[in-house]
Amino acid sequence: MLSCGMRRSPTWIALAFALVSSGCTLGGGAPGTPPRGPRYFGSLRPPRGDVLRFINGGEPETIDPALVSGQPDGRLARALFEGLTTPDPRTLEPRPGQAARWETSADGLSWTFHLRAGLAWSDGAPLTARDFVWSWLRVLRPATAARNAGLLAAIAGAEDFNRGVTSDPARVGLDAPDDTTLVVRLARPVPYLLHLTSCPTLLPVPRRAVERWGAAWTLPGHIVSNGAFALDRWRQNDRFELVPNPRYRDRARVRLARVVAYSVDDLNTAANLYKAGRVDWNTSGYVPASFVPWLRGDADFRSAPFQAVYFYSLNVTRRPLDDVRVRRALNLAVDREAIARDLLKGTRAPWGRLTPQGYPGYPPPPPLGHDPARARALLAEAGYPGGRGFPRISILFSTSEDHRRIAEAVQAMWTRTLGIPVELRNMEWGSTLQATTALDYDVARRSWIGDYLDPGTFLDIMRGGDGNNRTGWSDPRYDRLLAEAAAERDPARRLALLGAAESLLLADGPVVPIYHYSTVELLKPWVRGVWSNALDLHPLEDVWIDHSWRPGARLAAERGPGPVAGRVAPPPGRRAVRAPWLRMPAAAPAPAPAPVTAFAPGEDRP
């Protein structure tokens, strides 16, 4: 092997040599010396102007708020449209958005929202409460085919309207007695309604544009928005460009002059773009998992727990998974700690239940653990002592290196501990969805992200017959508990009922939880106003570019956006400080420090 320890020099020969003998440590001195000051990943060339460039993920299917269901779509919908409330970027508490204040009746079944005065769409037309009524009815209309119409199910008459039982919009509990008042009548109390009103599904859409342009209303030139930004350009599979909406109710708050959201789906490309300094922010999920242990020490790396759980679902309609003892045995044979520690290098938290953390007041059931002896005993009880006679089962997952590694580890655990034959089945995303919907699988990798801060958003999917269930499992006791919880007014009792439902679910074992997601993102040090939170929501109106940032400066604790103090002159002599190109710690990275909360940084891509 070629000798190492060459000093970095930007000549061609050195570069070619470096490519071949890429085991060398280039830049910044002998291998093993700790870097001076905070270390960053890649180029440090701040942009000119107030332009934010970030990786948004795959090309969104649509940015129509009523129809969005993916994170990239949702991010854009939230930037372009604003609902009755908006989430606080730090705490996720609902803040007044288009609504200035609200009241609720004593029984919790009626909510009255008072919109701010003088609201307008970006084309100048006034925005009234009737716009909200029309938008929410549009979501419920069967012809719209909105996937998340279920979020409005608690409104009186909504389910009937959505199923087509009635087609009279007056039967739905939405009223706009005047331009600035919206009255919502519910069929059952919804304590988290204010969180729902900031979800994309409940954002208002411009009636004139939708009626005039139909499915093409979201194209630039047609689209009209009421949020902080307006759509300037949209190149398919490439990027979206947003500019501040001059008619936004809080125009002064927006400090960015332009936002470029790149529709890049590939982890490799995303990492390379960030390193080369062409984007300022790799949003969560666009950092390769294997980089995390190496990037953990960098000042531009961030991580926080995220409301999503990675689990395997078991098809209970197939032998031998129809036997609850078999399911419990499979659960107990999985060593989640080992997966998290060795395979994921402590970048994700092992997790033993379906609901994630972060629900105040929720009494979670004891998590599923690792007990190989008991697992073997249960398997023997079910009639397969030592795995004899157990039919071959397959683990289905969609194409991804990370999914494969975990599947291989679980396969090894089941084979070693229980002695059963397990094979791997890898299909591309569309086919795996097809297979799980058709119950054409044995074990399948799944994940679920919470829509709002409530355990119900996770437990609802396991209701019998729910389209997102996809395990064939149903238990009338579970459904009854969920129905009781939905009707319960007292929040504490309601959460207790949900906890009991989850205990039932975990005991019956149609799911094998594996780990709890964390957000993992890379953020250049001059991007401010991005706080980590449980739903990974980052309103772009709070983001700004700090032109006074210097390399070597310690990142101060995240201050809120101050008043816009006129133009900040670019600092003189600002040259990019290049981080070493090839950065190779002399030893393997140190093991992760014991996490303060139950989590450690990790990758969260579902």
């Binding site: 092997m1 490519l19 085991g23 060398c24 982890l267 490799n268 294997s290 395979l343 591309e428 190779m584």
Partner: protein, 298 residues
């Protein structure tokens, strides 16, 4: 005194057949010879990989080590799971070369048969057969291969079939051209006069005489198939894990090259050098076997 000199001996050496002539010419092409040796080495190393002493187990993971740059213990470095890259490149080479070989054989079988039948029969059958080839040529075959692989299971067998089916078209054209020119020769008349039937004439007499261009083209098809397999694996459609081929190694390496560049450099070099060697060899064979192609000095 005059010595009765014997008349100058005729320069009669051993009889020179096409093959020995070709072999001689090939031996003079140093690049082709070097390429042949290199290929032999690569094939040997890849096939013998499981039994090479001192070679790490390509499946052995060392999660605490993770990805590490090339060092004494791991000459090519390790990947994110701590697996030795040198071992993975060698084992991956087995699969890549195997796919190349089998795919070429499939295309050979189909192409030679198709072209020979079309060329020999002539007439309407020939026209229809070659029209089909033209139509298939116009199809974006990569697209069909992708569709086939996405639709059917991604088994190794399906991969072989898909790859072989793409390559046979040119083989068919070449063989047909050869057969057309050969079928008027006297040895064919002689065979027919002796009572040989159509298919035996074609396969026993004509086809062996087309072997020259067929071999050359086959030598050039192997790298084309290897390349296509690598390309499909790069897109995620070819070899499925836990098996690895050079294509999947390159794809995996390219994903993480911002931090671990050796994971893409070494498999990339392995694939490129092997393809280079195949192309040199194929060029050399073509020069050796086809006398018209020999470039005369001016």
């Amino acid at each position: 005194m005059s010595v009765a000199a014997a008349p100058p001996a005729l320069a009669t050496g051993p009889p020179r057949s096409l093959w020995s002539d070709a072999r001689r010419r090939l031996a003079r092409n140093r690049a082709a010879v070097a390429a042949a040796w290199f290929l032999a080495l690569v094939v040997l190393a890849c096939c013998a990989a499981p039994w090479l002493p001192g070679l790490a187990d390509p499946a052995a993971q060392d999660l605490r080590l993770g990805a590490s740059p090339p060092a004494a213990a791991h000459p090519f470095g390790t990947d994110e799971l701590g697996r030795d890259l040198l071992a993975r490149v060698l084992v991956g080479g087995r699969i890549s070369l195997l796919v190349g070989l089998v795919g070429t054989l499939v295309s050979l079988l189909v192409g030679v048969t198709w072209g020979a039948v079309a060329g020999y029969r002539g007439g309407r059958l020939d026209e229809w057969m070659m029209r089909t080839v033209d139509v298939l040529y116009a199809l974006p075959t990569i697209f069909l291969v992708i569709l086939l692989l996405v639709f059917f299971s991604r088994s190794l067998l399906m991969l072989f079939v898909a790859l072989g089916l793409v390559q046979w078209l040119t083989m068919a054209r070449i063989v047909r051209g050869q057969v057309l020119s050969l079928k008027r020769q006297t040895f064919v008349e002689a065979a027919r006069a002796l009572g040989a039937t159509g298919s035996s004439v074609v396969f026993r007499h004509i086809v062996p005489n087309t072997l020259g261009p067929v071999i050359v083209y086959a030598t050039l098809t192997v790298p084309a198939v290897v390349l296509q397999e690598a390309f499909l694996s790069f897109l995620g459609l070819g070899i499925q894990p836990p098996d690895a081929s050079w294509g999947t190694l390159i794809a995996d390496g390219a994903r993480v090259m911002a931090l671990f560049p050796w994971l893409v450099v070494f498999p990339g070099l392995a694939l490129s050098l092997t393809l280079l060697a195949f192309n040199f060899l194929g060029d050399g064979l073509r020069d050796a076997l086809d006398p018209q192609d020999r470039q005369q000095a001016r």
